[in-house]
Every structure is written in C-alpha cells, then in structure tokens.
C-alpha cells in the first residue's frame, strides 16, 4: 500500500480544535501548499506547535494572519508582526519555548520519553511552574513531552512508503514531528517509486509518515 493522498483528502484530516505541528524554520522547509490549502478550507481554533510563526506572507505565518490559531507554541515570533499584535491584544495565547527545548519536547513526545532535563531556561521566566530536578548536584528543568493530532511536514524527496530525504537547511523540525503526531502528512517536492531512494540516504524512515502529497503534481 502506498501512502500518496490528494490535497483534498489531506486537508480533510485537519479538524477544528486540533493541535498541529508544522515543520520549517522561518518558512524554509515549510509545506507551503498544504498551508495554502488549509487556509482555503478554513479550519479554526487550532493549537500550533512550530519553531516560529514565519512571515505574514510566507510559511505558517499566513495561517496566523487568517486567525486560525487560539494558541501558539513557538521559540520566536518576532518576524511576524501579526503574531505580535494578536499576542499583545490578547487574541491569541502565545507560549514562548526555547528552540532547543521545543525540539526535545517533540522528540520526547514521539519517542516514548516522559520528558527531558535541560539547563536551558533556569533562572528565567521559562522555569515558572516547572519542576527543577537535581542530578548529581546539577540543577535541570523538567520539560514534558509534546504531541499533536496532525504534523504537516516538508521533504525534498519521498518514496511511496514515506522514506524521506532533505536538501539544505530544510530538516529542522521536519525530522521529528512525524513521530510525535497521531497522523503525519508530508508535502514532498518529488515522489519516487520504491527503490528511488537508496536505503543509506534515508533521513526519516517511512514508519513516521502516514500520508504523502506529491508536490510535483500540484
């Protein structure tokens, strides 16, 4: 069974109120056409888990402008002035998470871990309400795992079983979010038949990928 689906079927998997993870770093390695299709469909009250909120006209930032989120977890929102406006005016709840902590919370969520211990954020507002754990005399913050209903991901190339390869700086959060979501959808720039990706070159094994959209056919 191959994992290819249509854009129509893909966006119908996302429902109002869902928590979604979106790959990409300032719109590099973001599934742009999946985002456009979701905006067209018009889902609402979503919770977003993403490194950043991109730009008003690029990446996941377009969904911020379309007011599709009630809550956002991100490490950086400064490049999208609409996120800043919604935050300061209390329209959207924004939780700022250190970047290295965010990726580890996602990794923990996908990999069966109860959390991670990190020194990042100790002594800052990030530690508020969290447990501080002492290991061999060193203090760490306990950061809990994160999971989502849906992960929307980008890859350079996918085979029909969902094995993925990447180019340049597009790996970022795309490599772990699939593991941490109930359903993962990958927008691949190119889909190849079985054998089209050498097993040695696979970056994300297909086990973490449920559905693939063939970007070349859009």
């Amino acid at each position: 069974m191959d994992k290819l689906i249509s854009m129509h079927d893909a966006v119908n998997l996302v429902r109002d109120g869902d928590t979604i993870m979106v790959g990409g770093f300032l719109a590099v390695g973001t599934p742009d056409r999946l985002i456009d299709a979701l905006i067209e469909k018009g889902v609402k009250d979503l919770t977003l888990i993403c490194n950043d909120t991109g730009f008003v006209d690029r990446g996941v930032g377009k969904m911020v402008v379309a007011k599709m989120f009630k809550k956002i977890y991100a490490s950086h929102v400064g490049t999208n002035k609409e996120t800043g406006r919604q935050l300061l005016e209390g329209e959207t709840e924004v939780v700022l998470v250190p970047q290295g902590t965010l990726i580890e919370q996602i990794r923990a969520g996908g990999f069966g871990l109860g959390g991670v211990l990190t020194k990042t954020g100790l002594g800052t507002a990030v530690e508020e309400g969290k447990d501080i754990v002492e290991i061999d005399g060193e203090k760490y913050l306990l950061e809990k795992p994160m999971r989502a209903n849906i992960a929307l991901l980008f890859a350079e190339k996918a085979d029909v079983k969902g094995n993925l390869t990447f180019h340049g700086a597009t790996r970022n959060f795309n490599t772990y979010m699939g593991a941490a979501a109930d359903i993962s959808i990958v927008e691949a720039q190119e889909v190849v038949p079985l054998g089209g990706i050498c097993q040695d070159d696979v970056v994300v094994p297909g086990v973490f990928v449920n559905h693939i959209i063939d970007g070349a056919k859009l």
């Binding site: 300032l26 950086h76 700022l96 970047q99 990042t120 002594g123 800052t124 180019h167 700086a169 597009t170």
Partner: protein
C-alpha cells in the same frame, strides 16, 4: 564620531579578534552576523547556524540563491566545503552539549554578574528567545556585541530590569567604547576606544567599572 554602520563594523572587527583557530562559532542576528566579515585571515573558524548547519559561507550572488540554504535570520547564505547539514535536535545537541566554542549575541541589558536580557520588552516587543537561551546555557564562551548605550540609556547595569534570557552567562562585552570582562568582582574594562575619555565610558555605564591594571587601547 562614527555613524551607525561604522560603529557596528568597529565592534564586529574587535569581536572577530577573539575567535581562535579551529573554533566553532555561532553568530546571532544583526550586529553579530557582521563578525563573519572580519575573521582574521588564516584563522580556520567554522560558523554554526542553529537552523541546521555548520559551515556558513558568504551570501550568494543573486542568480545562485538556493531557497533551502538560509541562515537563522532567513537570509540566503552558502555552505562551505567541509560543512554539514543536520536537524534541530542535532543542532541544539551541539549547542547545549558544549560543542560550540563561542557565541556572539546582542543584548538589551547586561548585568555586572553576567545576567543578560535580550528576548522581550513586556507589553511592547515580544519576539521570543529563539535559540538564545540554549546558546547562553551551552556555549563555552559568551560574547555580547552591542552599542554601549541605547541612545544614552544604560544597557550595562548592576541588575537587569527586563526579563532575563540567562543567569550569569556573559563572559565578555564589546562595545564602541571598550572591551569589558565580566568577573566575580563585576565589570572590568580591559580595553578602551581612545575616542572616548574614561569619564565618558564610566558615565555611559550603569554599574561600577573596574579599570584593569593592564588597560590598553582597542585594536
């Protein structure tokens, strides 16, 4: 007087002298990014970009831009031979794990014990910490590159008033007025820009400034 650009380049040039042969270095967005232009010839310095690679090279020509190769500020860059791409978990493993020798960041405020605030002004500007908290906790050496004051308002303080990005993290501060070490005793001026008097530098600093026994002119 130097204009804004000259001031930034002056600071960046001095910071670049701190980078050692073989260092892995992470440069923050803005002024710190300029440091790459002044790395002394012959020093083999690898630059990390926290969005996922080591070996950041110069900006490409217009017709050679690859949309998949951008720095952590979304500016198109290149990757040098010997570099490598990786995901955010590896990138922050490198950062938190102490594998970055030096990180250079800007700051809104730095306190005399090395506390730093650079990620938000409550009620006004909330860009977020990005990778800064991880870099401050993991990098072996933290250099703050910034203008000495914010249009006259003190940025070097006894205690930060803005939300902290990290506690006791800063090792060295380079401004257009001088180079300051953060020590157990507080700020120590080790180099000064002869364009300013020591009195001017004192007045521009909102904390005690110890003058090093071996004080010398910058660069």
């Amino acid at each position: 007087m130097m204009d804004k650009q000259q001031t930034q380049e002056f600071i960046a040039r001095r910071v670049a002298m701190e980078l050692q042969d073989g260092d892995l270095v992470n440069l923050g967005i803005g002024l710190p990014t300029l440091v790459a232009n002044f790395i002394p010839e012959g020093r083999d310095v690898f630059l990390q970009s926290e969005n996922g690679f080591i070996g950041v090279g110069p900006a490409p020509e217009e017709d050679e831009i690859d949309p998949c190769i951008a720095n952590a500020g979304a500016m198109p860059v290149t990757i040098v031979p010997g570099g490598s791409f990786f995901d955010s978990a590896v990138s922050f493993g490198i950062i938190r794990g102490g594998h970055v020798n030096t990180t250079v960041l800007g700051a809104l405020q730095v306190a005399e014990n090395g506390d730093i605030a650079n990620y938000m002004i409550p009620g006004k500007m909330v860009p977020g910490m990005g990778g800064a908290m991880d870099l401050l906790s993991g990098a072996k050496k933290v250099i703050v590159a910034m203008e000495h004051t914010a249009k006259g308002a003190h940025k070097l303080l006894k205690k930060c008033t803005l939300p902290l990005t990290a506690v006791s993290a800063v090792d060295l501060i380079v401004t257009e007025m001088g180079v300051i070490e953060v020590t157990d005793k507080g700020f120590v001026l080790i180099e000064y820009n002869p364009d300013y008097s020591l009195e001017e530098i004192h007045n521009a600093t909102g904390a005690d400034l110890i003058i090093s026994q071996s004080l010398k002119p910058m660069i």
